[in-house]
Amino acid sequence: MKSFFGGIHPKYNKVTRREKIKAAPFPKRVVIPLQQHIGAPCEAIVEKDDTVKAGQKIAEAKSFVSAPIHSSVSGNVLGIANSPHPTLGKCKGIVIEADIETKWHESVKKRDNVESLSKDELKNIIKEAGIVGLGGAAFPTHVKLSPPPDKKIDTVILNGAECEPFLTCDHRVMVEQTERILKGLKILMKILEPKQSYIGIEDNKENAIALFEEKLQDMKLDVKVVRLETIYPQGAEKNIIYSIIKRKVPAGGLPMDVGVVVQNVQTAKAVYDAVYDGKPLVERVVTVTGAVKEPKNLKVKIGTPVKELIEFCGGYDGAVGKIISGGPMMGIAQYTDDIPIIKGSSGVLVQKEDILKDEERDCIRCGKCVDKCPMNLMPTQISQFAQKGDFEKCKEYFALDCYECGSCSFVCPSKIPLVHWIKYSKNELMKK
């Protein structure tokens, strides 16, 4: 079975794997943050009291590494206000009161000339549709599709690993929208002209693997489906590249340094929507799970408050311990359920009050964090130096190569919050 070294086997808890994607209830009011991606924040191009339509651009990207933002509803702009944000704490967002009936913007219309579009036209459509990586990090997709001339891309990998426990949104999209994903991938392949293309899926999603294999034959697309070992963090970019084609992305480097572009399966689906249907990225599929009464996979308009999704899932099941945006391994704990769903939101996980009461002890040097680290770092050493404030030492132990997958903290028998300390050292090093 294809895999990388290190990694862990948490309990997967994919309880929603058979729940069909349902449309979330229509939001009465959305808050659409001006920053939902890696890169420069957008500038609003609407004002208070403007009327907007669904799919209308409401914020413009001001630099190349950025992505424009569109309204997910039609309605009135109530204003631009600082509001809670799942990854940034607080961020300026456009507040829109939604009409009961959605009126789509005139720019949203089907294209029937897709085959004849040039590479640059396709890239521009993707850029203008505000598409970013939907796996979580939300890196603008058109940037990945425009490598500098000295970086020749020969491999495209579609990432359907979905290694985070609990989350099943990618799985459901793969099963329910197989053909659209593949058509989206075909567009990506047309732009990048790779020599080889793969779809990597963990072997706990057999039905998705089978569906892709079947559809690929029908479509006569030269893409290989790769069955990956179910092990966390199989879906992390550097790890999935190594699992599939055994290339090592240099430390501090990008996949394009080894000629690879990785895209999430939902991103490919968004590319399809943008190119074929002329629809910008205004909704995505999100798994709402954990301690809610009826966990679900929901198609959600960007800007919908998480609170409404939880209500739609029957409300909280017992006293709330944590509300997590994303999965349990890399998700971000929220201080309120008043946050909106943004482009990078893959899940909402609610945990009960009674979890994670482990007492922290001193490191017993078991070395499990070193064995399990998919980046081959020494988390316990970095954590000890960070606690002493010796950040230069943290750097010598390659703290900056950590992408915070959480495997070390997961296995630590002394229950040391290793990721927390490593993040702290990274922040301090970044300041310099």
Binding site: P10, G135, G136, A137, F139, N159, A161, E162, C163, P165, Q234, A236, E237, K238, I240, K248, P250, A251, G252, G253, V262, N264, T267, K322, I323, P328, M329, M330, G331, A333, Q351, L356, D358, R361, D362, C363, I364, R365, C366, G367, V370, P374, N376, L377, M378, F398, L400, D401, Y403, E404, G406, S409, F410, C412, P413, S414, K415, V419, H420, L429
Partner: protein
């Protein structure tokens, strides 16, 4: 709604903690302890109990006295006491395990700052203290049939007599309480391997090195594997987390060093056995080994001038 808790990721953790690890190792040593009591009688049982109780009480008193949280329930003091008893002769007077355990826990562990901070394996520190202070008491041996006599390694070294494999394998022979039965030790270690509490790297290189060098020195490798403290040392003492390297390569070097020193001491020193001193010596070398075996990150490139360290995107 009460305010939700906010912490760094991850938000789930494995169930394994220090307690489960320590108690699993204690359980894994029970076959050896039972074999010791079976072969050497109730005196072995008393030595084991006295050693464990002394270790636990010592840790509890020191922690109470120092105003620390008392952690005697985590099983680590029990483990130190049990391990110490298993590497004592069944003939030692009952005050020996008591003194040994007090020394092991207080000087071997607590003065360094407690669990996780000690440099040397506490049980071996206790035994080294006893051997140095009461050498005669520590080297009186008895065979399970009640006749006093030397250990197999001593008989080989001083008299040129070699014990049979089956005696060595089942443990029906003179030696420390817990070291004679290879079968019992392997059973216990099998449990630790199955639970993934220990892995092959340290015991594998340790035992492998002893086997290879016994062949080189024209010795019987099977005898050297089964006789003396090699199995208990390689499987249960060299694998002690706190006092062995955390780096993968470091574990291999550590195992090799233990094995090499063991065979050298067995063949060329004044003592018949070398496991205890080998492991203690290699314990001291751990910081050095770790320094030279620091792991390099995935995709590491030799630094040119300025390493580009910007955050990168990731999907998944």
């Amino acid at each position: 709604m009460t305010k939700p808790t906010v912490t760094s990721n991850p938000h789930i953790r494995s169930k394994r903690n220090i307690d489960t690890i320590m108690w699993s190792v204690v359980i894994s040593l029970l076959p050896a302890a039972i074999a010791g009591v079976y072969f050497f009688g109730t005196s072995a049982l008393w030595i084991i109990l006295l050693s464990i109780i002394s270790a636990v009480v010592t840790e509890g008193i020191i922690q109470r006295f120092m105003g620390q949280k008392v952690t005697i329930r985590d099983g680590s003091a029990v483990l130190t006491g049990l391990l110490l008893a298993l590497i004592l002769s069944p003939l030692v007077p009952y005050w020996i395990p008591v003194l040994g355990a007090v020394f092991a826990v207080s000087i071997g562990k607590m003065v360094f700052g407690g669990l996780g901070h000690n440099i040397f394996n506490p049980a071996l520190v206790g035994r080294a203290f006893l051997v140095a202070s009461w050498p005669a008491l520590m080297t009186r041996w008895i065979n399970p049939d009640g006749i006093t006599g030397a250990t197999p390694l001593a008989m080989l070294k001083y008299e040129g007599v070699k014990a049979g494999y089956s005696q060595l394998f089942f443990g029906n022979i003179g030696g420390c309480i817990g070291e004679t039965s290879a079968l019992a030790l392997l059973l216990g270690a099998g449990f630790l391997f199955y639970k993934k509490i220990i892995d092959w790297r340290i015991p594998g290189t340790y035992i492998g090195t002893v086997l290879v060098f016994s062949l080189i020195f024209r010795q019987d490798p099977i005898f050297h594997l089964l006789a003396g403290g090699l199995l208990i040392g390689a499987l249960f003492m060299a694998t002690d987390y706190v006092t062995s390297p955390i780096t993968p390569k470091g574990k291999l070097i550590f195992g090799f060093g233990c094995g090499f020193l063991t065979i050298i001491l067995r063949l060329f020193s004044g003592y018949p056995e070398g496991v205890m001193f080998s492991i203690l010596l290699m314990n001291a070398a751990v910081p050095l080994i770790e320094r030279y075996t620091q792991v390099k990150p995935f995709g590491y490139l030799k630094p040119k001038k300025d390493i580009d360290t910007k955050e990168e995107p990731k999907n998944g």
